[in-house]
Symmetry: C2
Subunit: 727 residues, 2 copies
């Protein structure tokens, strides 16, 4: 086996890059002198300063390695997190500055762990079967190892043999054994927790020159290749680099993938790890960036909504990907992050950024297929415009995504003007806040956040998709029927069969430029093929203050009832209900100076429920957010046609208000021979039809006649101008 020197290789590479700087430098292979450090690019210099500041604080506090007692957010939890950061950064500081006190501190901390580790059994605050040693769950122990082994690698060569052997044996071999043997069930999963575990164990193997550990990490604990890191790169990402659990976990999972792959590349370059499966890891990194709006991840599934590209896990990933690709678009991602890492890749990235080599990241409309073979549904992203206030529509036609998945098949979100307009609740959780269940997922994550009605997804008979059964949900994926990113007429259409025993749901979202209307305008067509009688609820979770309700409502102004008993309905307060007359109903809200009108066609029997989340929530765990639910009670199938129109401006500073009212006067929806026809009449008299044939043959012509309107088009969907009324 090749002598692995990943960390010393890194030293040499770092020194080489430093030497290439315009600053005066000494021999390229010696430890860099302070003079070398005086002309660093700003991003890297700031990172060095951050690291120094943090590690100096830790040095002053001395070695503090407490017996683990607290759950997430508690003192011992946070201290062990601080420690792995200190080990990681202390090692890097030693490598970069040559100052021995950093190496000494890392050694002393690890010697303290060498005393502690052998005494540890299961963590006392364990809450599930995945129990850790230093932390309450094994995942955190894996994260500890991934960080600590990197810092250790930077100082290990300079230790006495006795210290080295003690730390090797009592800390790293024990930790690797705990993760790969004692926690074999986690280690052999095809799951991001296993990625962290295999990364920690594999990097330990490289450092300790232990081929067995490396092979277990790469090929699974039985070395068959049925599990392990390599298998994970095949199973956890779709061919488009989409990770089944969704963007929030994609970001998290990506770090061990990238860091371990980087170590593999340096130790086993013949494996060509970054070229595997058509470069899946680098593709996944770019896809992670595509899954954001204004820097924030689309928050579907169990996602914290404050998670953005400015996250520790991605600083490594972006630097490593830049090292592999020199893609100038990654520089602008790093600029947005305002952070990098203290590796040679980070230094090169910072230099090139400072040299003005950055180019904008190419955000675009795209279809991200889900599933290892790309056949388990998809996430469709429709974008319009550029910059932080552009429009993005996200159609979530992807698979359940395991335990963190939500029962939200065919749900969607809309971003516009820098905000989430049609929104996803994300997870019900306050990360690391002790008073909120120790920072864990809250009970309302199950009872509300995961339920179908908490999403912009069709609910049948007030029960969640798959009746809330994760196993069933994981066995059935939606299909992406059609996708088009054609300018001015972007379309995504998906279908799910099996979310309900008697309902095949099809949803087509059209983001179209319609003459006379502002952008974005979205048409949403939802139908269910069913045989029996059902109640169909179509919620729209919006953000903004209601300005106008275009139909009479019955208000629960002095006593708000709750909408239902379970499946999330118990968390919904009903403000008002209405049954608008035949034609269409509309309501308008205002958010940050922009008006949005949600309009729905009705045969006079669709009920509108204006409501708010937050009922049955004695601990104030939920955010209170408005929702409008359209309800149809039908024997057999049902169909909904709605539109979301953005319009006008409200400017508080100049007290100017423009177009605060919808530009649409009427909306009519017809289904003819399986085709959907939505006819709009604007206030200025103009008329147009948005038509969907649901036929994916781009060359096939379609024709329908409705009253005086004869409508002809070719392909899946179209916007057709109609003659004004009476002409």
């Amino acid at each position: 086996m090749r002598r692995p020197l990943p960390f010393r290789l890194a030293v040499a590479a770092a020194a080489a890059v430093l030497a290439a700087s315009p600053a005066p430098s000494t021999a390229a292979t010696s430890a860099p002198s302070p003079a070398n450090l005086s002309n660093l690019p700003p991003l890297y210099a700031a990172e060095l300063e951050n690291a120094r500041s943090f590690v100096e604080g830790m040095l002053q506090a001395g070695v503090v390695v407490p017996v683990p007692t607290d759950p997430g957010g508690g003192y011992t939890h946070e201290q062990h997190k601080r420690n792995y950061r200190a080990i990681y950064l202390g090692g890097q500081l030693y490598r970069i500055t040559g100052e021995k006190r950093y190496a000494d501190y890392v050694r002393d901390v690890l010697l303290a762990y060498a005393e502690l580790y052998p005494t540890l059994g299961d963590h006392p605050a364990a809450s599930n079967q995945y129990t850790g040693r230093l932390f309450w769950q094994v995942l955190n122990d894996a994260v500890w190892l991934v960080n600590a082994v990197q810092g250790y690698g930077d100082v290990r060569d300079g230790l006495t043999i006795a210290d080295r052997e003690k730390i090797d044996a009592q800390v790293f071999r024990r930790a690797a054994h705990f993760l790969s043997v004692d926690s074999q069930a986690t280690f052999d999963r095809i799951h991001n927790h296993a990625t962290w575990a295999t990364a920690g164990v594999g990097m330990t193997g490289y450092l300790l020159d232990d081929k067995n550990l490396v092979d277990r990490a790469l090929l699974g604990s039985d070395m068959s290749g049925k599990s392990g890191f390599l298998r994970q790169t095949e199973e956890l990402f779709s061919p488009d680099g989409y990770y089944a659990e969704g963007p929030y976990y994609q970001r998290y999972a990506l770090m061990p993938f990238m860091v371990f792959a980087d170590a593999i590349q340096r130790n086993d370059p013949d494996r060509r790890i970054f070229e595997r499966r058509d470069g899946i890891l680098l593709k996944a990194l770019r896809t992670t960036v595509q899954l954001t709006y204004d820097g924030y991840f689309f928050p579907f599934n169990d996602a914290m909504k404050d998670k953005s590209l400015k996250t520790e896990e991605l600083y490594q990933g972006v630097a490593i990907a830049y090292g592999q690709t020199r893609d100038p678009a990654l520089l602008s991602v790093a600029r947005g992050q305002g952070r990098t890492v203290l590796t040679p890749d980070g230094l090169m990235l910072a230099r090139d950024l400072a040299a003005g080599k950055a180019e904008p990241f190419p955000f675009r409309s795209m279809l991200l297929r889900d599933g290892p073979q790309g056949d388990l549904g998809a996430v469709a992203i429709l974008r319009r415009g550029e910059g932080p206030r552009h429009t993005a529509l996200v159609a979530k036609n992807s698979s359940q995504g395991m335990g963190h998945g939500h029962f939200d098949k065919l749900s969607w979100q809309l971003y516009d003007n820098g905000h989430e307009i049609v929104r996803d609740y994300g997870a019900a959780r306050f990360l690391n806040i002790e008073a909120k269940q120790g920072g864990r997922y809250l009970p309302e994550n199950e009872s509300w956040a995961k339920q179908t009605v908490a999403h912009n997804a069709l609910v049948v008979d007030q029960r969640s998709h798959f009746d809330g059964d994760v196993k069933l949900a994981d066995s059935i994926a939606p299909q992406q029927l059609y996708f088009s990113a054609a300018p001015g007429l972007q379309v995504s259409s998906g279908r799910v069969t099996g979310a309900y025993p008697d309902a095949t749901i099809t949803r087509t979202l059209v983001m179209a430029d319609i003459p006379g209307l502002e952008e974005p305008t979205v048409i949403d067509l939802v139908s269910s093929d069913s045989r029996s009688a059902h109640t169909y609820d179509l919620p729209l979770h919006y953000q903004g203050h209601l300005m106008e309700i275009g139909f009479p409502v019955a208000s629960n102004a002095a006593n708000r009832p709750v909408l239902g008993k379970d499946h999330g309905y118990q968390h919904i307060w009903v403000d008002a209900t209405a049954t608008p007359a035949v034609g269409d109903g509309a309501l308008t809200w205002l958010l940050d100076g922009r008006f949005y009108t949600y309009r729905f066609a009705t045969d006079g029997r669709t009920k509108a429920i204006l409501a708010e989340s937050g009922a049955n929530d004695p601990e104030f765990n939920l955010r209170r957010e408005p929702v409008v639910i359209l309800r149809q009670e039908k024997s057999g199938g049902a169909s909904f046609a709605t539109m979301l129109e953005s319009h006008g401006r409200y400017d508080g500073a100049s007290e100017q208000t423009v177009a605060s009212r919808s530009r649409v006067s009427t909306m009519r929806h017809d289904r003819v021979s399986g085709m959907d026809v939505v006819r709009l009449t604007l206030n200025d008299g103009r008329r147009a039809a948005v038509v969907v044939s649901h036929d994916t043959d781009p060359a096939k012509g379609h024709r329908t006649k409705l009253g005086k309107d004869t409508i002809e088009w070719t392909g899946f969907a179209a916007v057709i101008p109609l003659a004004p009324e009476g002409k």
Copy 2:
């Protein structure tokens, strides 16, 4: 009488300043050539570009002067607003560029008004007795005149005699007559509407060389000086430059004050208008800026919360004040505004700003006395720190402030970390949004926003101060008992007698540095001297998501009742109630990464009501915001001692949480011989007392003994360290 040439003087001055630029220039008194315009400072150049863009759009649309029909926000309302802007800016553009088409357009628009104006009677959309002609209320007509007369002044000399006479007679004399004669009741008020009217009429007088109009404007319609502009400068601002209606109206009122004063200064320099009353107008301008946090005005009384220094009315004021004072702090205000005006003052300001002469505006703790003589209460501002995230506490011990005043005596607000933490609802209104009552004040402005319980003010027997009677309220002002801006121990104390027949309310707010606690820490002491039995409610309207409630609550989780029937109580949903045990109760919320704990001492009988605004609001007119109400039912007086502690950090990006729980373990409140003693024990064992003697003699010593604690101090208030428990 001196020959008035305000606008031609302005031309000459502008040309002079332009000539002083480093750009090549021709004769100083000629119209500036395009070459002169090529080297303008950025702020002025951008303004010129804005103006060109707007006026070009108007030119393309042609002259559109519709018959008035719509209320605020409607088409004719907005068109007449656009027209006065076009007249004003068109005149300026002509003066600056010499391009005749601008003058022609202004002339044509005014000739159209000359046709329209004689045909007008009362506006058809009038909603009160102050009916306008061009607009639904006379105020807007005055604003029209203030703007239009300035633009007309820039073009008038170049008109044919026939056009000039027609416009003089049919537009400006008629408008001035309408405002000063037909609308005499408004004109002779001591009120900001009258300031706009007198400014418009007076500036028309200067332009038309009509001494009678000028004198009416300056001295009132009877020229006695009992009303009119000069009297307004004496009556409407306090000696500290505070305007009784509050910051939102101060901003609005200031524009006609400054613009007309500027015209007076140029036409009647001997009046020394800017030196009157110790420079009250310039003082008022600076005070207006002091009444902001992060650029936004403190939103008490009928205020729109999105109103900031970036407001049309203040661009003029800042430029005129800079012209008078050359105060470099005003340059940083202009930089924050990012706007200026196309006057010689605006040009000089923009030049000096570009030359780097700006200095930070000196925001500071200050007491702003209210009332013409400064004896009608006060607004106390306590600031700590600097920059956009500094802390500011506002104690509103000022007078009612007329019809836009709220029944909120001794209320307070707290800003911290860039946010309003303890908040004021402001007005219930959506300005210029037609669907919301035509953009007028909503019914909920009376039923909620003005009521005492909608504020952080003591409510007795669930009725608003002065029983909601504006006349009574205007006749009684609070007293400011004490104010200190001493670093580390800032104090404001106020009292109101007469808000209730049987309750004299005293409130003392202390913002102190307490060893072991983070800043800001606020102690709030509220007491009522009463004889009979009453219910005392102390609401705290906060902003954030509840993290922890330190006492058991009875939740209305599935059926929220309403708290009361009237005086605002009908708009409060009750989420939960509690009667915490003897000692203290606390609740913690999170806002933008910062935790806040509100703690109150209790004898075991104080009830805590956790609630939210938004009940009985079928039109969704109200924002839904949380409030906690402390309720005491007492025979005789009552007293509340509460504290607001800020602590810790939540950082979603790094997933770091620090000190999410209060650092205080217990809080005890004692009243001894009229003194308040609040004793705190921290989690780390430290103890301290915050003591208030209520004795304004700074030299007087005070002493009290409570249990083992002997506490001695001098003066009104102090923070005294206490020995730890058991020592």
